[in-house]
Amino acid sequence: MATVIFKATEACNARCIYCDVVHKKPRAPVVMPLETLEIFFSRINEFLLNRPDEQMEVIWHGGEPLLLGPDYFGQALHFQEKHCAATGSRIRHSIQSNLTLFSRDFTEILKKLGITSLGSSYDPILNLRGLGTKRDSQAYNRKFMDGIRLVEEEGFGWGIIYVVTKLSLAKPLEIFHFLANFSPKGAFMFNPVLIYDNPKLNRLKVTPKEYADFLGAIFPVWWQQLEEFPQVEPFSALTSNLLEEGTSLMCSDSGACARNHINVLPDGSLSLCGRAADWSLLQYGTIFDKSFSEVLADPQREVLMERNTILPETDCKGCRFWKICHGGCPLDAWSGSGSFLHKSEWCYAKRGFIEKYFEPMVNPSAAVAAVTTKEPQHPWPPAPPANLARIGKRRRAKDPEARLELPWINPIGGLGDTLMVSGVLKQVVDRNSSRQFNLVARTKYRPLLAGHPAIAHIGHPPPGSKFVIFTTNYWEHEDYRQPGKRAYQVLARIFGLTPPVEERLYVPWVFRDDPVLMGLIPWKPRNVLICQSSDSPRKQMGLERWEALVQRLTQIGVGVCQAGRIRDSYVRGAYSLMGLTSTRQLISLVRHFDAVVTSDNFIMHAAQLCGVPAVVLWGPTSHRVYGYAGQVHLQAKIDCEYAGGCIEGGDGGHLYQIDCPRGPAHCLDTLPLEVIFNAVMGILKDLGKEG
């Protein structure tokens, strides 16, 4: 189908920060004169008469096409009926609008033009899209929502394009859920922001890798609940193209824009596409002197055609994704290299996303092969994935029975234990990608384990059914009673690994900083994160001693923040982050501290995961069982009747949540403050030497 991007106006009531159209001086005239509009439809008729098997899609674009008003669309219909009597049935209209100007006055005429759905775009992040020269995004959002409401009431469908900027990167899932919640029946698409020659906007620019990682953070959620979510691009198209041999390609990937794309501006000038017009490239004259057939035969298009034969021998040689990409958008190639005969600078965004996120999720075994084979041996299409049988026409087939037959993991223990379990499971699946588990759904563990490559499903085992279940209560296993026990190694054995294994921790998601949280913290040149709390009061050092430590540190200019839950005791002098962070946010935050001082708790494990030096205060539990090499372990001397630690094994379980009766003689309170302080300073001084 031939496609005309029809810009009857380039004027816009909004000033989206990244829009190339509104930042240029408007080309005269701002609105296409009716005489030109009439010529446009006569050109369409001429084209379709010459090509009886061809159809033409007219995409009303802009600027904001609704600024034209309903009468203008009425005139367009009039000219279509006047000039395209024999060809009108082969004309399809669609529209891309910001919807802030939509009113019921448009309903009748848009429906007469055959438009049943309206394309739009939106961003919940403020100050990117907005009305008027001041870019009033709150007014924009209100009017957009009013527009959507009217569009729905008038019986139109709608879809959204979301432009991924630097500001989006911190919250991919938040944005995804926002869009999915807002359009449960609709569709939406992610596109990276394209900024080329405006240094002021570099703060919004994303790299191909960042864009791939953004998509990668979302894809597991979408994939695991395909039936739940609307059509989301590029995921839906990739699923179709890679798994079902579909051919659903956007213009930038089709390799066919040279054969079928024409851009028309208000003054009647012609070019390849909107971006070509914005950059004054690939211009083909005007509608007054050229027919569409002549435009499609313009010699300037030859270089784009050649691209399809040259790239497979050069930039894209051997690439197994050629047929779903064709080197990407030629305009991107031009902006990156100054030539159309190179692949798009966004190549990694697609390839990286597929190899790093898509394939490991839909077909882990194929993904391993793909990553380890630098020059792919198998031409397109790739071999059907082993689990293709589970994939339906567009949606993954429901196969709850097969899924539920996988062994179940019943997670027990603290979040630190969960990090160890996650690390063990990663090693299990790395060694045998076909080993998968179900996870019994418990609110506490989902944020850490959702999306884990070893976990196929999080839910509830069917009552009464026969299934294998792994419980993570390593402390009740026989191994745990052996001398030299290590919690991690016991867990490894529970999941079938042969100890000793490397004690790697793992989370199945990308660290993301919350900009609000990061902006909230009064960072100092050196910063220490403390965590006084633990599930067991016996693993906690007394509050006064923590406060004395904080005082020492703050006196010498070290910033001290306290992590924990909202109910935990506050250590005076520390900047409290208690209750402000989700599990994921807290782990991501740990990375930014120079040192961690903590009890034997989740933060101790999180510090190890993030590679942040830690001073760990041990009392009734032993660093020999839980501590990690490389951390500073300060083990208190136990001077009570429980020589092996009051909460370790045996009858210790019932003491776990009871305060130590020894008061000031509690083992952890005998750790000399000076020793703790010096241990922290040792880390900070070491960092100073490095830095």
Partner: protein, 288 residues
């Protein structure tokens, strides 16, 4: 949109001011339930149920045989002592009764489970202060437990009505959805919810003012109020549980550790419930 049902106090004069409406009539005690029902029938309206706003625990109420056919919605502060209740269980099970208990204190969640297990239909009135983890356990029991038990709302409703491609508002189960229920005071003034009735926030002086609810501005706006969460980019708009919550607990600020976690789990359980139904459809035992 059909005419919303009316929730009004037991007041004969008030009931005479409208006709052919479906009415849930509010009374303060079980002893006046029968009279209230009779007055609704006499007024040429249809009785949906009698809402008993009891200040006493369920176990302290003196149910009688002649009340067993009355449609009753009993809102009690708690279940009370089970040993008292046990004596009336047989009658309660035969009653056309749904018992509503507040979701907090946590003991009520246990009571709801017990009542369900003995075959009494219940509803958990949830507010932001509920123990979400304990509520999750109750929900799992309500939806997935195979041992026979009576429905606990809103969980049973959500599990059986959840459709990923649309929003699910279950406020109507608790008479809280102006599309389904309008609340009248003694003078016939109209509020959009029970809470607004208590706060005397009225949208019309009488029900006769609302001839076409879909055209009535206050109702129309209320039904679209969810959009404001998106305009403001409220955290609820980005929550995975939005489609079955619609921001009901936004004011509680319990965040991801509370309501969000619960509703995500509720979604997972609803999916599993649906899977189970599909499995059941395909399973047939041999026929003699």
């Amino acid at each position: 949109m059909s005419l919303p049902r009316i929730v009004c106090p037991h007041n004969r004069d008030l009931l005479q001011t409208f006709r052919d409406r479906t009415v849930a009539v509010r009374v303060k005690g079980l002893e006046t339930a029968a009279a209230a029902a009779a007055d609704v029938w006499e007024s040429d309206n249809h009785l949906l149920c009698v809402i008993i706003e009891s200040g006493s625990p369920l176990a302290d109420l003196d149910f009688r045989e002649e009340q067993k056919d009355l449609p009753l919605a009993l809102m009690a502060p708690s279940c009370g002592k089970f040993r008292h209740l046990a004596r009336r269980l047989d009658l309660l099970r035969r009653c056309n009764l749904r018992v509503y208990l507040p979701g907090s204190p946590p003991e009520n969640l246990v009571s709801l489970r017990i009542l369900s297990s003995v075959g009494i239909y219940t509803g958990a009135m949830i507010d932001g202060g509920v123990d979400w983890d304990a509520l999750g356990d109750l929900m799992t029991y309500a939806v997935l437990e195979r041992v026979p038990h009576a429905a606990i709302e809103p969980f049973a409703f959500i599990a059986s009505h959840y459709d990923p491609s649309s929003y699910l508002d279950w406020g109507g189960l608790f008479f809280d959805n102006p599309e389904n229920y309008l609340h009248l005071d003694e003078e016939g003034r109209v509020a959009l919810s029970a809470a607004e009735l208590r706060e005397q926030r009225f949208v019309a002086p009488s029900i006769s003012e609302i001839a076409a609810p879909q055209e009535f501005p206050a109702i129309r706006e209320r039904l679209q109020a969810w959009r404001q969460y998106f305009v403001e980019n409220h955290p609820c708009a980005s929550c995975g549980g939005w489609k079955i919550c619609l921001g009901k607990f936004a004011a509680s600020g319990s965040g991801s550790q509370g309501c969000a976690g619960f509703f995500l789990e509720m979604l997972e359980v609803a999916r599993q419930f649906k899977d189970r139904q599909i499995q059941a459809e395909g399973f047939q035992i041999w026929q003699p």
